[in-house]
Symmetry: C2
Subunit: 323 residues, 2 copies
C-alpha cells in the first residue's frame, strides 16, 4: 500500500485537533474549571495546534444542564467568554451527536458563533440524519467533519455504502473512529486506504480518532498518517473516555512541522494534568484491553474500574457471556 | 515488504519470552520475594509461555551481591530451589552481559544447570567478545541468543557487519533490541526485514525486545511479528527499566495460538503486580518520551522520575544541551 511522507520531513496537509475537553469531558462530566479551559486554549495557541474542540452541543431537552459541566452544551456565549473574538490561528470546533443535538436551534450561523468547525458524530445506521446535520452546518457557514463511530462493529459492505453517502454530501472531512480501541495498526492501514481512496475521489480529507485500550492509540494515529490520513485527534495526557486517546505529547513529539511546539503542552501537563489525574480516572487498564479484544463498548470496563475491581479473569468471562 | 501470518491464525514459529524478572529486576535491584518468583514461574507454566528469564548471571567480582537481590546473579542452585527439576514445557533462560559476566566459571554445562537458553547481551563494539561467549555457551550445550543493544544508536553499515559476524557464529537467535524505545513501527518494519533476511540466509531466528518510552512497545512487537520476527519478549504489566516493556497481557491477548492462556497472567497481575506498582516505579512518563525522541539512554529520565521532577521542559533542554 502506498505511504505518504517520511520520518524526517512534514506534510502540510496535517491538522492536529485537541479533543481534551470533549473526550476528556466524558471522564469528569465536563466539569473543567475556567482556569483549566483558558490555560488549555492558550496552550493550544502557543503550541500551534490547529483545532481545539470545546465539547458537545448536547440538547438540553435530553440532558439536564444541572448534571453536567458547561462544555457538554458549549453555549456560544460560554465559549466567547474564554476566547473573546479568538483573533488567533487556532480554530475552534464542537461535536454534534446525531439524535442528541437540537442543531436547528443550538447551532447559530458561523458569523454569530465562535466556532469554525462542526463535527458530526454518527453511528452507521444514522447516516441520513447525519447528512441532514452536515447540510445544515454547511449552510450556516462552517467547515464540517463527520465521525462514523464504532467502525470496528460495522460490516464492510455497510461501511462502503455509508462512506459513499457521506462522500456525496457536502462534508469536508471524514474520520476513521476506533471507539472501542479494537483495531491493530494493520487494520488501520487497510481502513486508511479505504477512506483515503474514497476521499481522493470525492475531494474529502480523512481523519483518525483513536482510543488507547491496547496502548495503540498513538501507534494507530501515526500509522493512519503514514497511509495518507491528515486530520489527527489527540488529547493532553491521553485524557478521554475509558482508556483514553492518543497523547498530544507523543503526537507533537512525532510531527516534524516546525510550527508545532511541545513545550507549552508539557508545561500544561505539569500545571494541570498531574493534579487532574489524581482526581479522576482514565487510561490503560487490563479491563479496557479485554473490551477491545472482544470488540465491545468500554462502558462495562469503565464500571469495573470505577468499582475498584481487579478480578480481571471473572470480568473477561462476564464479557464473553454477553458476547 | 512481505508480511507473515494474519490476525486470525497463528504461526507455530512464535516463541514468547517472559523477561519480567530480568528487565523488571532493573527497577527493584532484583529484590523479588521467593513467593513472587514461584508464582510467576507457575503462571508462565499455566499460560504456556515458552521461556522464562530469571535474571542476569552477573560477575560477583564486578557487582557486590550485598547490593542486589539474587536474580542479578542467577546462581543455578537458587533457580533449582524455585523450579526443582523443571519437569515442564517452560524453558528457562538467563542473560549474560558481555564484559560483566564471569561466564567461564559461572556458566555450567547445560546438563548441570536449570537453564535451557543463554542470552548474550552485547553492544555493537563488543561483538567479538559476544561471539566468544556464544561459542562457550553452545559448547556447554545451550540454545543461545544474542541481543545487540541500543540499535537505534548504531550506524547501518556497522550493524550490517556486526550482524554478519553473528550470523556466522553458532548463535541460534538474533534479537532486535530497542533499548531507548526510540523506534517507530515503520523503522521496526525495516529492521525486521534486515534481520529476517539475514536470518533466513544463515538459519537464524529473529527476536524483538521493545521498550515503551513512546507507548510503542506492543505496537513495535506485533509489527516485528508481522514482518517475520518470531521471538517476542514481554514482561508482566510491562515491568522493566524506565518506561518498561511490551506487556505480556497485551501480547497474549493478541496471539492466536490456543495454547497461550491470558487468565493466569491476569490473576498474577491482580495478586502481585498491583501491589508492586505501588512500591516501585516504572512505565510511561513524558521524560521517557523525551529521551526516546532524542535517542538517548533512559538513565537521565529514570533519575528525573525518581526525584519527583515534573519540569519536563527544562529536562528537555538539559537533554538537548548534552546531545
Amino acid at each position: 500500500m502506498a505511504t505518504q511522507g517520511d520520518l524526517i520531513s512534514f506534510r502540510p496537509d496535517v491538522r492536529v485537533l485537541d479533543a481534551t475537553l470533549r473526550d476528556g469531558g466524558l471522564v469528569n462530566n465536563f466539569r473543567f474549571s475556567d482556569e483549566f479551559v483558558k490555560d488549555l486554549y492558550k496552550t493550544n495557541i502557543k503550541s500551534n495546534i490547529d483545532y481545539m474542540e470545546f465539547g458537545y452541543k448536547a440538547s438540553k431537552e435530553i440532558f439536564d444542564p444541572k448534571d453536567f459541566g458547561k462544555w457538554k452544551f458549549c453555549n456560544d456565549d460560554d465559549v466567547f467568554e474564554i476566547v473573546g473574538n479568538n483573533d488567533t490561528d487556532l480554530k475552534l470546533s464542537c461535536m454534534l451527536d446525531v439524535g442528541r443535538t437540537d442543531f436547528k436551534n443550538d447551532v447559530r450561523k458561523k458569523t454569530d458563533s465562535p466556532f469554525d468547525l462542526m463535527r458530526v458524530a454518527t453511528y452507521i445506521h444514522q447516516i441520513p440524519s447525519a447528512i441532514e446535520m452536515i447540510e445544515d452546518a454547511k449552510k450556516k457557514g462552517y467547515e464540517v467533519s463527520v465521525n462514523i463511530m464504532a467502525v470496528s462493529k460495522v460490516n464492510d459492505d455497510e461501511l462502503t455504502k455509508g462512506l459513499e453517502l457521506l462522500a456525496k454530501s457536502p462534508v469536508d472531512i471524514i474520520y476513521i473512529v476506533d471507539s472501542y480501541g479494537a483495531f491493530y495498526p494493520e487494520q488501520i492501514e487497510r481502513l486508511a486506504q479505504k477512506y483515503t481512496e474514497l476521499g481522493s475521489r470525492y475531494g474529502k480529507q480523512i481523519g483518525i480518532h483513536a482510543h488507547n485500550n491496547q496502548q495503540l492509540a498513538f501507534a494507530n494515529t501515526i500509522t493512519a498518517l503514514r497511509y495518507g490520513v491528515s486530520w489527527l485527534d489527540c488529547t493532553v495526557s491521553g485524557m478521554g473516555r475509558g482508556a483514553g486517546n492518543c497523547y498530544t505529547e507523543s503526537l507533537l513529539a512525532f510531527l516534524k512541522n516546525p510550527k508545532y511546539d511541545l513545550v507549552p503542552v508539557m508545561n500544561f501537563v505539569a500545571k494541570h494534568m498531574l493534579k487532574l489525574k489524581e482526581e479522576c480516572v482514565w487510561g490503560y487498564d487490563i479491563s479496557y484491553l479485554l473490551t477491545a479484544i472482544l470488540n465491545s463498548h468500554p462502558s462495562s470496563a469503565i464500571k469495573f474500574v470505577k468499582e475498584g475491581r481487579t478480578d480481571y479473569s471473572s470480568f473477561m468471562h462476564e464479557l464473553m457471556d454477553v458476547e
